[in-house]
């Protein structure tokens, strides 16, 4: 996956300053957009987190008041614990499934294209539509799709999203269903990048299939997997749509996530933008940790700055 930069810009010539300036001018509109949509709000969020708001203006400076009241609330710790559970489950389910998929699909010859395509399709669906679709699957009534299927096997109807212990793993299953095909493709590409001669050489040395998996395939996957795992943690940590649409955080806050809590502060009937901003800062700090980890892991593989 190394990519060498083949081009080095020539920097000779007298109009060096003008050239720099014109280059910046070309980038300026885009930089302004980034500032407006991404960097600015992030910084403003920090400021806002120390204030109360009225309408959409800052009202009173409250110091760490917003943070204090967030940390004091049981809701926050529930949301935090749940978010960690989302992450753990997504490592158990969401991380391993694509690897398994890549391994088995990678072994097929005939129909490989079909399997790859089929498993990728859920990924192109709008997230919201996919989530709403699953309300019908997880309904606890006997018309729920899973209950219909269970009935064929004589199993009594079950409840799903209304079970405290099930709701998080089920939500993770939904997002795995949606995303696994795309992730599997990345693994497959990584695997197909393995030099076939390695396998052949290993065979000559008398390595059986399992040995080849252990000593050639697994290391390749691990290499890719460490990056993907951190990316996945970062994504799962921001889980919002699923609890928002499927359960409203219930039952008994069992699926409330940090992002959804933040959303609720702002738009859930209290209009507490300051508190929402504080929650946003807290989430950002946690993500920042993961991001640093990511850059560390990633630095070994790519050097972005050329």
């Amino acid at each position: 996956m190394e990519r060498t930069v083949t081009y080095r810009q020539s920097r000779r010539g007298g109009g060096k300053l003008t050239q720099h300036l014109s280059s910046w001018l070309i980038m300026l509109p885009s930089i302004l957009l980034f500032a407006f949509f991404l960097w600015g709000p992030l910084a403003q969020g920090i400021v806002m987190s120390f204030f109360t708001t009225r309408n959409v203006s800052l009202d009173k400076f409250v110091g760490i008041g917003n943070y204090a009241s967030i940390f004091k609330s049981q809701e926050f710790w529930q949301a935090f614990g749940n978010t960690v559970m989302y992450t753990v489950w997504s490592l158990v389910i969401g991380f391993l499934v694509p690897i398994a998929m890549a391994l088995v699909i990678g072994e097929t010859t005939r129909g490989k294209g079909f399997f790859r395509t089929a498993s990728y399709v859920p990924n192109v669906l709008p997230g919201l539509a996919a989530i709403i679709l699953y309300t019908a699957f997880f309904s606890a009534e006997e018309t729920g799709v899973f209950n219909i299927i269970l009935k064929w096997f004589g199993v009594e109807r079950q409840s799903y999203l209304t079970e405290m212990g099930l709701v998080i793993p089920l939500i993770v299953i939904i997002s795995t269903w949606k995303g696994a095909g795309a992730t599997a493709l990345i693994y497959m590409a990584g695997l197909s990048g393995i030099n076939p001669e390695l396998y052949e050489a290993a065979t000559i040395d008398g390595a059986g299939i399992w040995k080849r998996v252990r000593h050639i395939t697994m290391p390749a996957i691990f290499n890719l997997g460490s990056t993907l795992m951190i990316l996945q943690i970062i994504t799962v940590f921001q889980i919002l749509y699923e609890p928002m649409v499927l359960t409203k955080g219930g039952p008994d806050n069992a699926s409330l996530s940090l992002m959804y809590l933040m959303w609720r502060y702002a738009f859930g009937g209290r209009i507490e933008f300051g508190k929402a901003a504080a929650a946003g800062v807290i989430i950002s700090l946690i993500l920042l940790l993961f991001t640093l980890l990511y850059t560390r892991v990633n630095r070994r593989k790519n050097d972005w700055e050329g």
């Binding site: 049981q74 309904s139 219930g250």
Partner: protein, 505 residues
């Protein structure tokens, strides 16, 4: 603000008790405004109306009034064509009365989150319809306009009941809106299931439960005989707490056992661990684990989905109000003669029913001229306490359309203190009646004869309060081993901490 909220609660009960006869209007519940459901909304539709509307009240009232208003109370784009045609008819009349007023249709389904966005972005509709839970926060946050002067021009201020003044005004007594309609909670029934379960009297009326205990037993019979849920119960989001509140009152969580009260120092106290609350929650728990009469998706059911569940015959009973009678019928296809509405079942400590309603409020930048124009439109619509040819035509149009869509046409629960107006509303609803009133009389009589006590929502941070209680409700529904007292204790501790934090007390 505190006093305003308290006053609102008290006020509502007084108002509705005084009027004591219900309305066929859309109302609402925490977090949802069914007024804009494609199904209900009897406030607007017509069929034979447009022609009538064209002939009335067309002389000019004020040619100098020049302004443009956006009408957020315009029907949804998914509404039947006829309903939209009637509203266009109202606008035509307005144009004749006020030739220089322009009305821009701007259908708006009010929700607090989107309203903030519109209000601060300068694009809130001139007039819109929030539920009674929201005016205090909107006024407090400066998100709505002072329309006191316009209301005075229409001589409406004197017709406000004291309670509405409290809810809709600021600390200086300036008014920011007006009531649209109210609702009183009762019990909706699907008579198909009552018939199937053999729970009908010979005269064709249902043997409905008069007490909460009977409700559990009736539900059980229905479950056994039909396999369908006895009761559909919305325990998601803030609905569970909302439902619980009314149950708890009937178990005695009122007066000195109130769930929210101020102590002698004015500090707000949350009291969810009274025997009354514990019994009420134990009751909910028994509905699930002892009687097993609840629908399976309880904790993801919302107010609106419950109406569908009842209307499609998946449940026989639903705690719901008079404002939503067209949801299970016109909305979900239940024939109007297979639907009934009966009083809220009494509990061991009395008979209480929750009341609430919907207001009209105005975008923060609304001028007095615009407010006058918007009020003129409401007047034509038949929603202000005036009886004129055009208001009468408006009322007829609404009832006719409701009847055509298969919703029950019922007597009104008026929002204004005006006998002539209320009498006219009643007369027209009788004229268009499509129901056997014996299926509704007990409900309406209970309001009139005072056998049921009407009570407004709990006053403080209502939606959040309900959401906190919902957790306790969900806990006992999803976990058989969850102790009601422990669940309520946790909710009480959380909410006490939250309210202390919010009020700085």
């Amino acid at each position: 603000m505190k006093t305003r909220l308290l006053a609102l609660a008290a006020a509502l009960s007084i108002l509705l008790a005084a009027c004591a006869s219900p309305s066929a209007t859309t109302g609402n519940v925490p977090g949802s405004d069914p007024a804009n459901d494609p199904s209900p909304s009897p406030a607007t539709p017509p069929v034979e109306a447009p022609s009538e509307l064209l002939e009335v009240d067309s002389e000019v009232i004020d040619a100098d009034l020049t302004c443009t208003i956006t009408a957020g109370n315009y029907p949804a784009d998914t509404a039947p064509e006829a309903e939209i045609a009637v509203f266009d008819g109202y606008i035509d009349i307005l144009k004749k009365q006020y030739p220089n007023v322009t009305v821009i249709p701007d259908y708006y389904h009010y929700t607090l989150d989107t309203y903030i966005s519109r209000a601060v972005g300068g694009s809130a509709p001139t007039i819109f319809q929030p539920p009674f839970t929201d005016p205090p926060i909107l006024i407090d946050q400066g998100l709505v306009a002072d329309v006191h002067d316009a209301l005075e021009q229409f001589e409406l201020v004197d017709k406000f009941s004291e309670s509405f003044i409290d809810m809709l005004s600021d600390d200086n007594g300036r008014l920011y809106g007006l009531p649209r309609d109210g609702y009183v909670m009762g019990l909706h029934l699907n008579l198909n299931l009552f018939e199937e379960a053999g729970l009908m009297n010979e005269d064709g009326t249902p043997m409905y439960p008069k007490t909460l205990q009977e409700l559990a037993e009736t539900g059980k019979i229905i479950k056994e005989k039909t396999g369908k849920a006895g009761l559909v119960f919305p325990a998601s989001d803030s609905f569970g707490g909302w439902m619980f509140t009314c149950l708890a009152w009937n178990f005695g969580a009122v007066g000195e056992n109130a769930m929210q009260y101020q102590d002698e120092n004015g500090k707000w106290i949350i009291n969810l661990t009274s025997d009354a609350c514990v019994q009420a929650l134990a009751y909910v728990k028994s509905l699930k684990w002892e009687y097993d009469i609840l629908n399976a998706d309880t904790t993801t059911s919302t107010w609106a989905s419950c109406h569908t569940t009842l209307g499609t015959g998946e449940a026989a009973m639903n705690f719901a109000a008079n404002d939503a009678v067209s949801n299970p019928t016109a909305g979900a296809g239940l024939a109007v003669d297979k639907f009934a509405m009966v009083p809220y079942p009494a509990g061991p400590a009395g008979a209480y029913a929750l009341t609430g309603g919907t207001a009209y409020m105005f975008a923060p930048d609304t001028t007095t001229d615009q407010a006058v124009a918007a009020l003129a439109l409401l007047k034509i619509n038949g929603l202000l306490p005036f009886v004129t040819e055009s208001t009468e035509a408006g009322m007829r149009a609404a009832q006719a359309a409701l009847r055509d869509r298969g919703g029950p046409v019922l007597p009104p629960v008026p929002a204004w203190d005006d006998e002539e107006f209320v009498a006219k509303q009643r007369e027209i609803s009788e004229e268009y009646s499509n129901v056997d009133m014996r299926l509704y009389n007990d409900y309406f009589n209970s309001l009139a004869d005072g056998s049921i006590t009407l009570k407004g929502e709990e006053p403080m941070l209502t939606q959040d309060f309900y959401r906190e209680i919902t957790r306790a409700v969900q806990a006992v529904i999803v976990r058989e081993d969850r102790d009601p007292l422990a669940a309520l204790q946790s909710a009480q501790d959380n909410f006490q901490a939250y309210i202390d934090d919010q009020l700085g007390q």
